[in-house]
Amino acid sequence: MIYADNAATTRMSDAALNTLIELSKENYGNASSLYSLGQRSKEILEKAREDVAKVINAQPREILFTSGGSEADNQAIRSAAEIGKAKGKKHIISSAFEHHAVLHTISKLEKEGFEVTLLPVHEDGLVRPEELSAAIREDTALVTIMYANNEIGTIQPIRELGAICRERGVLFHTDAVQAIGHISVDVERDNIDMLSASAHKFHGPKGSGFLYFRKGIRLTNLIEGGAQERGKRAGTENVPGIAAMATALTEAAATLAERAKVTQEKRDRLIKGLLQIPHSALNGDAVKRLPSNVNFCFEGIEGESLLLLLDDRGIAASSGSACTSGSLDPSHVLLAIGRVHDVAHGSLRLSIGDDITDEEVDYIVKNVREVVEYLRGFSPIWRDLMAGRKQFIL
């Protein structure tokens, strides 16, 4: 099988898996217990905090461990909303193609009396800094813009966006779930106040993630209970999972530049190959995108049937079609960059691993081409397009 869905989740690295197993077996003590087994867990936990902080150029006390990216997004936004509310600031700025963990949280706040501005992301899948500047108001409590998009992989001008927020005195949060471990992220350089990350996107375990929050930012609890995480996130710490995350992140950071270079070459080979398929288009900017992300629309076909047939040929990928989401609408990300429903249903996301070979890339291209041609062969839309009864969009 060629696994090309690393944006959905990744296989754990051997080192991370070893950490997870070893600690689960040997160091099962509760980090709040005072005997040595418990204290050893506490030490491991704090060492993991140091390691994670170091990778993003933060201080250990600025790291809160969570169950993953969604929890971190929820807590960051809720906290910023509380801070804003206390100062009479009830305006939030985000973008139209954020992850649902962000969009659903802010729409909930909207119902609670906050005003929300969603910045457009344009055809290239990028937010414009000048549009952020223009959208910031006196009562803006938070700007939350993702580092890299989870579907089309476009990398936002985070440093510039952060600088604008800093200058205007507005808190800046970024969902960096797709970016961390894959491209360089530095909270100082990038002017970030809060950042969300998830371990299973960088070869760590599922159920482990973190929130970076700049010193001085008062967090609001999502989970009440014990005094873990300095009282900001109750519940016995998932020490094996957290330590395995730190292992995976340290490993990813050490090899980042070299992996990105190799993966990017394969990505571009894949893009070049798929562009040979008639009436297809790459979604999002070709350069300002994650090294692993390829996202295409193919006119005249529907994404789910494409995925199922690729699965039969040993290729695991994903799509933004409505049928894969269980709703009637295709991906909000593709709609946000201006793809109309008709072609957004025919999308394919390939998020490749750094170990993919040229042969595998060529195998993907060949099979996507064959399956697209096969499905077009009995698509009434394709027949209408070919007969000139309908205009091609792509």
């Binding site: 789910e304 047939l309 009637l328 009995f378 009434p380």
Partner: protein
């Protein structure tokens, strides 16, 4: 549990009666590209018996499987029997569909009914050019 039954996967992987009938006696098309599925049915009818049926579908796995199964269920059958085909019968013949995919079996039922209505209409007006009504799916108009 897998997303689809083996029967759905079989009809999806090896769809029966795929294609076009150029001189069809009845043609029906339902759905739209906006919702992500369109089904088109072509019928050849002789002496009120459906002697041939072909389909074209733009859509997900269950839409393709539903079209395929529906054509099997009406091929060789009298028009009256085909007219009575329900989406439930299509879904049952496929050993079930996930709840949110039942819509696909509804499209199959409607596409066949649409084609049969086109046939009846043409029978009533011999020699008139081929026309068929385009039935919009239920999501039409929703953003």
């Amino acid at each position: 549990m897998a997303l689809y039954s083996d029967k759905v996967m079989d009809h999806f992987r090896n769809p029966r009666n795929v294609g076009v009938i150029e001189d069809a006696d009845g043609v029906g098309e339902v759905g739209n590209a906006k919702c992500g599925d369109i089904m088109k049915m072509y019928l050849k009818i002789d002496n009120d018996i459906i002697t041939d049926v072909k389909f074209e579908t733009f859509g997900c796995g269950s839409a393709i499987a539903s079209s395929s199964m529906a054509t099997e269920l009406i091929k060789g059958k009298p028009v009256s029997e085909a007219m009575a085909l329900t989406n439930k019968a299509v879904a049952e013949a496929l050993d079930g569909l996930p709840d949110y995919k039942m819509h696909c079996s509804v499209l199959a039922e409607e596409a066949i009914r649409n084609a049969l209505e086109d046939y009846e209409r043409k029978k009533g007006a011999e020699g008139s050019p081929q026309v068929y009504t385009h039935v919009e799916c239920e999501c039409e108009g929703k953003e």
